[in-house]
Assembly symmetry: C2
Homo-oligomer: 356 residues x 2
C-alpha cells in the first residue's frame, strides 16, 4: 500500500480518482470524454455552477462573495492581486512569513509600494511573525495562512479594517474559520481542492469593484465574474476534479468534519515526534501547521536510514524541501488517518531499533 | 455513434482518452494517480522533456528554438506576448483577421503602440486580408494562422525580416510548414494538441532574450525556459494529455501523414457543399480553413431541420458561432475521415429530400 504524503500535487479521495477516470472516457453518460466536451454547454456550465455553490456552502460565504475558478496556480495570483488592487496612492502591507509569501512580495513590488510588516526570514521562516501593527489606509494586507515548505500555519485572523487578502493554497477548507472576514482569498487547487492547473478565488463584490482599470482582460477579476469563469476556455478537467473533491467533502460532513480528522492526524503525528528525542521539531508549538509537519534528525546517517525505511514501506513524499531539509509530512484533507497511524507506527518502531 | 465536430475543446484520439483515463487511476504503474503525482519527480520531468522533444521533432525545429508548456489558453498569450515584446520605442504590427486576432490587438494596445496593417472586419472576417505592407522596424508582426470562428486560414507565411508571431491555436501541427520562420508561436492545446488548460509556446532563443525586463515572473518566458516549464506547479494532467496526443501523432506518421488526411477531409466536405446549391460557403476558396468549415443555408427553417437531423444522427458541435451563424464543422487532427464521410452522406441525403 502507498501512503502519499506529497506536498502538492497531493493525495485526493479515491472516489475522486475513480470518477475522474470514468469521465475521461465517458462524461455523465454522454458518450463523450470530459476532455472533448464543450465548455459552453449547459452540462459543463452546471459543473462550474455546482462547484461555485459548493464553495459558497462549505465556506459559509455571505451574499457579497464571488467565487471564480481561474487558470494558473497561486504564482499567477502573486502578481494578479497587486495588478488589480495596488494603486499608486496607497501601499500594500505584506507579511513575510515563508518562501511563498516572499515570492508574493517580490511580484507586488513590480506594481507599487509594498510595506513588509514583519518577517521570520531570520530563522528560515520557522515561525509566524507577530507583534506588528497594521498600517491604516493600506490598500490591503496580504499573508499566507499556511506555509507548505516551512510547516507553519497562522491560527486566527488579524483584526483590522484593512482589506485582508490571503493565499490559502495549502490549508483552504481544512478547518472552519470566518472566511467572510477576507476581502480576497486565493488557492491553487492541487492540495485540498483538486488537481494542478486551476486557482480558486473567493472575493468580495465591492472589493472587486475597487480594482484597477485598464489591465489585461485575463487579469481582470471583474471580467471573469461577469463571464462566470468562462472568459476564455477554462481548464475544464481541473475544474471538474474540483467539483468531485468538493462533493466528497460535503458528503463526509463538510469542513467541520474534516477539521476534526485533520486535528487528529496532526495531534497524533506531532505528539509522537515530541515523545522521541531522535526527532526535532523546528516550529514552535503554537505555529505548527496541521497540513504540513516539518521535522529533522540530528544525525544525517539516521535521516537517510529513516527515509529509506519510509520509502520501503510505501510512504512517499516525506523528504523535506531543500530549503529546510529533514522531513515534511503533508496531511491534506484527503489523507486518511490510517496513513498517519502507519507512519507514527513506523516512527516508533524505527526509534526503538536505533535508539537504545 | 457520436461524431464530435466541436470547435474546442474537441475530439482527441480514442487511445489518448483510454491512456489518460488509466493514468488518473494508475500513472505508469506507480500505483499513484497522475493527479496526485509530484511534478518535481524524474518520472514527471520525463513527461515534460519527452513532450518537448516530440514537439521539436514533429515541427522540425532548429536548435535555436525553446519549447514551453504554460498555464492558461491563448487568451493569456494575447497580453503576455506584448508584455514581453512590445517596447516603448517600437510599434507592433497586427493583422485583424478574425475575432481572436482582434482580441489580441485589444490586449496589445495596453502595452504600447499597435499598427493594424489590414482588417477583414468589413465583411465579418470572412476572408484573409491581403495587400498590406509590413512596416520595417516593427517590434513584431502578429497574426492568427487559422480563424476558428470564421473558418478562414492563412495559407503561406509572409516574407519579412520582422519577427513573426503567430497564434496557431486551431491549426498547429495540422500541416507541414516551416515553423522555424516564426520567432514565436503559441497555441492553446485544446484543439490539435490536447485538453484545455495549457499553452504550447515555441520561441527563438535570441528573440526571447530581447524581451522586456521587470515583468512578473510568471509572465517572463525566459524564467519558464530556465525552469523547464516548472517555474511553478505546472498543469500536470493537461501536459500529460499533450504528451499522449503528440505520441499518437508521431505514431501515425507525423505532420506529413496528418496533413494528407486533413486535406482529404476538407476536400470532401467543401466539394460536397459546393455541389449543393442549398448550402452557401461565405469564405472564398483560397482562404478556406482545413480545420473549421463554415457554411450557411438561405432558409432558416431548413437550417433548423438540418441541425436537428445532424443531432439526431449523433453529429454534435456543428452549430456555427453566434457571430457568424449557420454551421461550423471542425475537423481537427483527431477527427477521423469516416466522420466527415458520414456528415457528407447526411448532407447529400438531406438535400435530396428537401430540394427537388
Amino acid at each position: 500500500m502507498i501512503h502519499n504524503f506529497n506536498a502538492g500535487p497531493s493525495i485526493l479521495p479515491k472516489e475522486v480518482f475513480e470518477e475522474a477516470s470514468r469521465a475521461v472516457l465517458n462524461f455523465n453518460d454522454t458518450g463523450l470524454s470530459i476532455l472533448e466536451f464543450g465548455h459552453r454547454t449547459p452540462m459543463f456550465e452546471s459543473v462550474v455552477s455546482e462547484a461555485v455553490e459548493l464553495v459558497k456552502e462549505l465556506m459559509h460565504l455571505n451574499s457579497n462573495k464571488e467565487v471564480m475558478f481561474l487558470h494558473g496556480g497561486a504564482s499567477t495570483q502573486f502578481f494578479q492581486v497587486p495588478m488589480n488592487f495596488l494603486t499608486k496612492d496607497k501601499r500594500a502591507a505584506y507579511l513575510d512569513g515563508g518562501v511563498w509569501g516572499s515570492k508574493a512580495i517580490k511580484e507586488a513590488k513590480l506594481f507599487g509600494q509594498v510595506e513588509v510588516l514583519a518577517s521570520s526570514k531570520d530563522k528560515n521562516y520557522s515561525y509566524i511573525p507577530t507583534g506588528y501593527a497594521l498600517p491604516e489606509g493600506a490598500a490591503y494586507f496580504h499573508y499566507t495562512t499556511n506555509n507548505t515548505i516551512e510547516g507553519t500555519q497562522m491560527h486566527g485572523i488579524p483584526a483590522t479594517e484593512i482589506p485582508l487578502i490571503a493565499d490559502m493554497s495549502s490549508d483552504i477548507l481544512s478547518a472552519e474559520m470566518d472566511f467572510n472576514k477576507f476581502s480576497f482569498i486565493y488557492a491553487g487547487a492541487q492540495k485540498n481542492i483538486g488537481a494542478a492547473g486551476v486557482n480558486l478565488v473567493v472575493a468580495d463584490k465591492d472589493f472587486l469593484e475597487t480594482g484597477n482599470k485598464g489591465i489585461p482582460s485575463m487579469m481582470d477579476y471583474r471580467q471573469h465574474v461577469a463571464n462566470g469563469s468562462m472568459l476564455n476556455t477554462p481548464p475544464v478537467f481541473a475544474i471538474y476534479v474540483c467539483l468531485l473533491t468538493l462533493r466528497w467533502l460535503k458528503k463526509i460532513g463538510g469542513v467541520t468534519a474534516i477539521e476534526k480528522i485533520n486535528h487528529q492526524k496532526a495531534e497524533l503525528l506531532y505528539s509522537t515526534l515530541e515523545s522521541i528525542p531522535l526527532f526535532h521539531l523546528p516550529v514552535p508549538q503554537q505555529d505548527r501547521s496541521k497540513m504540513n509537519a516539518v521535522f529533522t534528525m540530528q544525525d544525517p546517517v539516521l535521516e537517510k536510514m529513516f527515509l529509506a525505511r519510509c520509502e520501503a514501506e510505501g510512504m512517499i513524499g516525506i523528504k523535506g524541501h531543500r530549503s529546510v531539509g529533514g522531513f515534511r509530512v503533508s496531511m491534506y484533507n484527503a489523507m486518511p488517518l490510517e496513513s498517519v497511524v502507519a507512519l507514527t507506527d513506523l516512527i516508533k518502531d524505527f526509534s526503538n531499533k536505533y535508539v537504545q
